[in-house]
């Protein structure tokens, strides 16, 4: 029983970390609450579905899905958000603008595909097998997702902490003006980071579709989970955000295990509200405070 809880927590941690990291890449350098990230997540799954029903192969469908997600994210930045970046309260304006983008995309998907839950199936039911371990049960979809999500996360960490793009993006996140002064092309770095984040969101959307299925509005709760993980993790670093996802994953699996899975998201929203109120700086400074004592 405890083993199952551990496995569930690990799984939801990896999925949440993936979504949270994707939002972190979009949010951190640009500082925009890009709400239509929720639409980016689901767009990829629906693009995959669309390509499959059109008779295209799973590999092509996957590439098309990620391309669609990347395009939606980077075009929003390039065509819409960038125009507002000069104005005084760009943050809130971009937020309102992205709400509009979200409504448009979500409703196009609703009209095109309907509001019911749809499973994304790359291989005629191969994901629906149930694997029974000695003291726990996982589905083949979950197993595949763990591999993909883990690899993607590891790749992201390398890109963010070990490449020149990552260094530039971190410097823009820290201080955009200063980064510009020392010769970083801030607009380009933001666009690249948004594109990368959107692509990762596309991967996350596919994985969600593989396991629990997708609805046009499903992206919204994942977006909020990402924000929650970021806030818990101290709103500062990619590693912190992933740590936040670890806590949130454990909390959600615990809620699902001991109470009921339908309350898992509710508890998460309560946690976000509590953190924004009591500890907007996240758990990181909590540790520091303990150390100081």
């Amino acid at each position: 029983m405890g083993m199952q809880l551990l496995v569930n927590s690990l799984y939801s941690f990896l999925m949440l970390a993936l979504v949270a990291a994707s939002f972190f890449l979009v949010f951190k350098p640009s500082k925009y609450f890009h709400i239509s990230h929720a639409a980016v997540i689901v767009l990829s799954a629906y693009t995959f579905l669309f390509c499959r029903t059109a008779g295209l192969g799973p590999l092509f469908a996957g590439v098309a899905a990620l391309a669609a997600a990347t395009a939606l994210g980077s075009l929003s930045e390039l065509v819409l958000y960038r125009r507002l970046s000069v104005s005084r309260d760009a943050g809130i304006k971009v937020l309102v603008l992205s709400l509009g983008v979200y409504l448009v995309v979500q409703n196009i998907l609703s009209i095109g595909f309907g509001d019911q839950i749809q499973l994304v199936d790359p291989c005629n039911g191969c994901l629906r097998r149930v694997l029974v371990g000695s003291s726990f049960v996982v589905s083949s979809a979950q197993l595949g997702n763990v591999v993909i999500a883990g690899t993607t996360l590891a790749g992201l960490l390398v890109v963010w902490y070990r490449t020149s793009f990552g260094r530039a993006a971190r410097s823009v996140s820290e201080n955009r003006e200063l980064a510009g002064i020392i010769g970083v092309n801030t607009n380009r770095i933001i666009l690249l980071s948004v594109a990368l984040g959107s692509c990762v969101a596309g991967i996350a959307g596919l994985l969600i579709g593989f396991e629990v299925g997708i609805t046009p509005t499903a992206g919204f709760s994942y977006l909020l989970f990402a924000i929650i993980a970021m806030v818990i993790g101290g709103n500062e670093s990619l590693l912190g955000t992933i740590a936040g996802a670890l806590l949130l994953g454990a909390l959600q699996s615990g809620t699902a295990f001991f109470i009921d899975s339908k309350w898992a998201s509710t508890i998460s929203y309560v946690v976000l509200i509590a953190f924004l109120l009591i500890r907007p700086e996240g758990v990181k400074s909590l540790n520091l405070a303990l150390e100081r004592r």
Binding site: L80, V96, L99, L103, V104, N107, S110, F220, T266
Partner: protein, 283 residues
């Protein structure tokens, strides 16, 4: 004829929602996304109170008290934050309210919703409801317009432009903000009651985050802070999809097409007002 009554009712309901959100968010510049939540709480409060045999005099009081109380709690929480974080926190409250309506099946009957909501005799017909909804909207319009012109409205705009200065002037800023927020939420709750009366069947999907965004779109299109703008934008944005219907847009996707249109309106307006010196308060 029933079709036109229906449009009149829907337009009045949205107009009241937009005007009440505008009263708080438009004047203070704090954009709340919890409005559909309060609207839903009003609808559920009324439906549950009336379905459980409370009299038609008592049920509205219970419903409005429930909405105001939740709004009070939300304001205590949300007013600690500003700007985009205020939006995010009201957004999570909206998701929370939806979750409670959707999951707390013992009380709310979950996704199945509440059927057979008792009908108040005079407004059970479409005609009666239309007259009642339109006159409610007119009363609220005049009331909010007067309030906006009064010193209360001036205080709100003062808070928007320079909260610190208002505090320095000795204005009870937290109290002004809370009361305004409560008035807005209570009106939304009232609209929810009318909605529950009109459709006689409610389920949580009428009170989603998308609905909150739609109302926000209305006040952004109408110009934040403008009562006339909120009224006109709400009526226009309800009428526009109806006009499109005559050009053969299928009715099945009507709700989606409408939300899409509102989203597009939001995008266009934000781009038109993207100048470097326009502040969100003067959208």
């Amino acid at each position: 004829m029933d079709y036109f009554l229906h449009i009149a009712i829907v337009a009045s309901l949205y107009a009241m929602l937009a005007m009440s959100l505008n009263f708080f968010s438009g004047n203070t510049g704090l954009l709340s996304l919890t409005h559909a939540g309060f609207y839903g709480l009003g609808a559920y409060g009324w439906a549950l109170a009336a379905a459980n045999g409370l009299s038609f005099a008592l049920a509205p009081i219970i419903a409005l008290a429930a909405v105001s109380l939740s709004a009070l709690v939300v304001s205590l929480v949300a007013f600690r934050t500003r700007d985009d974080y205020f939006v995010i926190i009201t957004l999570s409250v909206q998701m929370l309210i939806f979750d409670i309506l959707n999951n707390f099946s013992v009380i709310t009957n979950g996704p199945l919703g509440i059927r057979a909501i008792p009908q108040v005799p005079l407004i059970s017909s479409a005609g009666g409801m239309a007259i009642f909804a339109v006159s409610s909207a007119l009363v609220i319009y005049v009331a909010l317009w007067r309030l906006n012109r009064s010193s209360w409205g001036a205080n709100l705009r003062g808070i928007r432009d320079d909260e610190l200065m208002m505090i320095a002037l000795g204005k009870p800023v937290p109290r002004i903000k809370t009361i305004t927020f409560l008035i807005g939420a209570a009106i939304a709750g009232y609209v929810g009651m009318l909605f529950a009366q009109y459709v006689t069947f409610i389920d949580p999907t009428s009170f989603t985050i998308s609905e909150s965004i739609v109302v926000l779109a209305m006040i952004v299109v109408g110009g934040l802070g403008s009562v006339h703008g909120a009224l006109l934008a709400a009526v226009a944005l309800v009428m526009l999809p109806e006009a499109l219907r005559f050009f053969g847009i299928p009715g099945v996707a009507e709700g989606n097409a409408r939300q899409m249109l509102y989203g597009a309106a939001l995008v266009v307006i934000m781009l038109l007002r993207s100048g470097a010196n326009t502040r969100v308060s003067s959208l």
